[in-house]
């Protein structure tokens, strides 16, 4: 019996899990555990974790699983089922390419192909250095400038595929500058 007692590291695991998450989320989970059907709050907990960290990292999911007493596989299953949850961090520079009808007919797809080629990522992905994320938008409401590429808050209109490399380089330089200033 003593051998079993010695291998029970439940308290250590819980402490490690608590250390992974901010205090208010741990408090929220503990609050949920006192209610009926605590597991029904899983999606609400994941919303909070993503709001805090920007994405759902594996360690955070494990911590949630431990604290909520839900199998880690189930937590991962829920996190991957819903489109709203991200498992990858977003890059520092968010590229939003408008794929709305107006931009689409003006060749947005060719621009995207070039971006894909330059960065080696597809929609919803981030470069391995964590600088660029690529996303599509359905309409940015600037159809007169089609095709439109947005990098963070900056709008670039009438983009041709050949302008893409220079555009990316400029954005990266700017980001580096602002990082050095900060």
């Amino acid at each position: 019996m003593t051998a079993i007692a010695r291998t029970d590291n439940r308290q250590e695991v819980l402490a490690a899990a608590r250390a992974e998450l901010p205090v208010d989320i741990v408090a929220f989970i503990e609050d949920c555990r006192r209610q009926e059907h605590p597991e029904s709050n899983l999606i609400a907990v994941l919303h909070r974790v993503q709001e805090h960290f920007g994405y759902l990292a594996c360690e955070k999911l494990d911590a949630v699983a431990q604290l909520m007493n839900i199998p880690a596989a189930k937590v991962a299953g829920v996190a991957t089922f819903y489109h709203y949850f991200r498992m990858q961090p977003r890059g520092k520079l968010m590229i939003n390419v408008c794929m709305g009808t107006a931009c689409y007919v003006k060749g947005a797809e060719k621009v995207v192909d070039r971006i894909r080629e330059e960065l080696g990522i597809d929609f919803g992905q981030t470069t391995t250095d964590g600088v660029f994320s690529l996303n599509s938008a359905l309409c940015l409401g600037t159809c007169g400038l089609a095709p439109v590429v947005m990098i963070n808050d900056e709008v670039h209109g009438k983009v041709t595929p050949d302008q893409v490399p220079a555009l990316l380089e400029k954005a990266m330089l700017k980001a580096r500058q602002s990082m050095e200033e900060a």
């Binding site: 059907h37 829920v78 819903y82 709203y84 949850f85 689409y104």
Partner: protein
């Protein structure tokens, strides 16, 4: 539609109506008081049944009948408010709740009392951030005023109400998918029976109602079932919120009695106000994407629960109209539609998971200018296979996918064939060979579908 006085949108534009005080001064919560203090739950169910109110979420099931399916000897009942509103082109629930959150909450209280529910969940879609805060504020205010919680109005009736945020899944609009999601799981629809009325959320008897359905309840209680039944057309009673998007002069949300024609909705001065920029209507998706599509010759279709069936549509749906102008390419509309269902299929039923995926790939190829006439037949056949399985799948998503895709191909076949005819010769083969060489190399394609000049010569 002159002379019609808005029922659901009567408070739109009134300053401060999101607060309880202004809402009450405009007659809000009076119906809930009447219901709780002067009527029994069974009387309310009977009143709603006589009003002919049918669910506004898409399927159009009579609300009073739905409530009567609850077992008589139940202890705890759960009311789920379906605010997932993910049907493309639909935003009437959001519009309603943004402008008049207390009307929605009052409807929830009446429905919960009528079904003797002690727990209500508002399942709100994740994308509605702003609305979440609006609803939460209104709910907090209503709680503080004693409209929710223990012993409401001194009647001893108790109701707890929570807002549950979804996380972006179309299939969670299906009632059992919604219940699964509410329980903190993947939103996989359940096999029925048992129906939610018998065994729903947390194993309890559960009613799932749409927001707009619940918002109709205060008016029914206040003015009576006969008044409600006098609005609209036989079998489709009451007011309805219509939404219009696309190249029209005034896209937005409008209220009218059920039975409005599509033409009135697009051209009427009280509604969308005609097409913008001198365009003409090419097609209209009249009730959310899943119901199907109407051509420009079919604009006299009345938007109620019966007339839409004469045009081959699945049903009224959510009455969220998407207008497609004459400058649109139907191949892109087809690809966009197919892509949506392939993305949203939950993957439980094989014919839906595979069928929507293959249809999306075929439609993408047609949109890329590499289609074949045979592809159109293939899509119709795939839709038929999914349709043949109707009732054989866990939820209605494959039917909802098959209707619009099949109707786009059938009703716009001439245009699609013409576009395919304009493609440069041999482009289809090159396109396929470049993108999926492994499939192109399959012997069956080499012998059958590939053109003679590229056919492999037997050794």
């Amino acid at each position: 539609m002159s002379g019609f006085e808005p029922v659901l949108l009567r408070n739109v534009g009134v300053e401060g109506v999101r607060t309880l005080k202004v809402s009450e001064s405009r007659g809000g919560w009076a119906a809930a008081r009447k219901a709780l203090t002067t009527m029994t739950p069974d009387e309310i169910v009977e009143e709603v049944r006589r009003s002919g109110l049918r669910g506004r979420g898409g399927a159009g099931f009579p609300t009073g009948v739905k409530w009567s399916f609850l077992p008589k000897d139940r202890k705890h009942t759960v009311l789920c408010v379906n605010f997932d509103e993910s049907e493309p082109g639909t935003f009437n629930n959001r519009y309603l709740a943004e402008h008049d959150p207390h009307l929605v909450l009052e409807g929830i209280l009446i429905a919960a009392y009528a079904t003797r529910a002690d727990l209500a969940y508002i399942y709100l879609r994740a994308e509605y951030h702003e609305l979440f805060h609006i609803l939460q504020r209104a709910l907090d205010e209503a709680y503080a005023a004693g409209w929710f919680g223990a012993d409401i109005l001194g009647t001893g009736y108790r109701l707890e109400c929570h807002i549950h945020r979804g996380a972006g899944a179309y299939v969670c609009g299906e009632e059992t998918g919604l219940i699964e999601s509410l329980e903190g799981k993947r939103g996989w629809p359940r096999i029925k029976p048992p129906y939610p009325a018998v065994r729903g959320a947390f194993g309890r008897p559960t009613v799932v109602n749409n927001v707009e359905t619940l918002a109709c309840l205060p008016a029914i209680i206040e003015r009576g079932a006969e008044w409600f039944a006098s609005i609209g057309t036989p079998g489709s009673t009451g007011p309805k919120l219509y939404t219009v998007s696309g190249p029209v002069n005034r896209p937005g949300c409008f209220e009218a009695p059920l039975g409005l024609t599509v033409r009135e909705l697009i051209e009427g001065d009280d509604f969308a106000g005609g097409m913008a920029g001198g365009r003409k209507v090419k097609a209209v998706i009249p009730g959310g994407l899943s119901v199907g599509i109407l051509t420009a010759d079919e604009l006299d279709c009345r938007l109620d629960f019966t007339d839409v069936l004469n045009y081959g549509l699945l049903g009224l749906g959510t009455a969220g109209a998407i207008v497609i102008g004459d400058d649109a390419d139907m191949r892109k509309v087809l690809a966009n539609t197919a892509r949506f269902y392939a993305h949203e299929s939950c993957g439980q039923c094989t014919h839906c998971r595979e069928g929507t995926g293959w249809m999306a790939r075929i439609a993408e190829r047609i949109a890329a200018g590499a289609g074949r006439i045979a592809d159109l037949d293939l899509i119709v056949e795939l839709c038929g296979r999914m349709g043949m399985m109707s009732g054989m799948s866990i939820c209605g998503l494959p039917d909802g996918a098959a209707y619009p895709i099949r109707l786009i191909v059938e009703k716009f076949r001439g245009e699609l064939e013409e576009a395919i005819g304009r493609q440069p010769p041999g482009y289809t083969e090159r396109y396929i060979r470049d993108r999926i060489p492994s499939v192109y190399a399959l012997p069956v394609l080499q012998a059958g579908a590939a053109p003679a000049r590229e056919r492999a010569v037997p050794a």
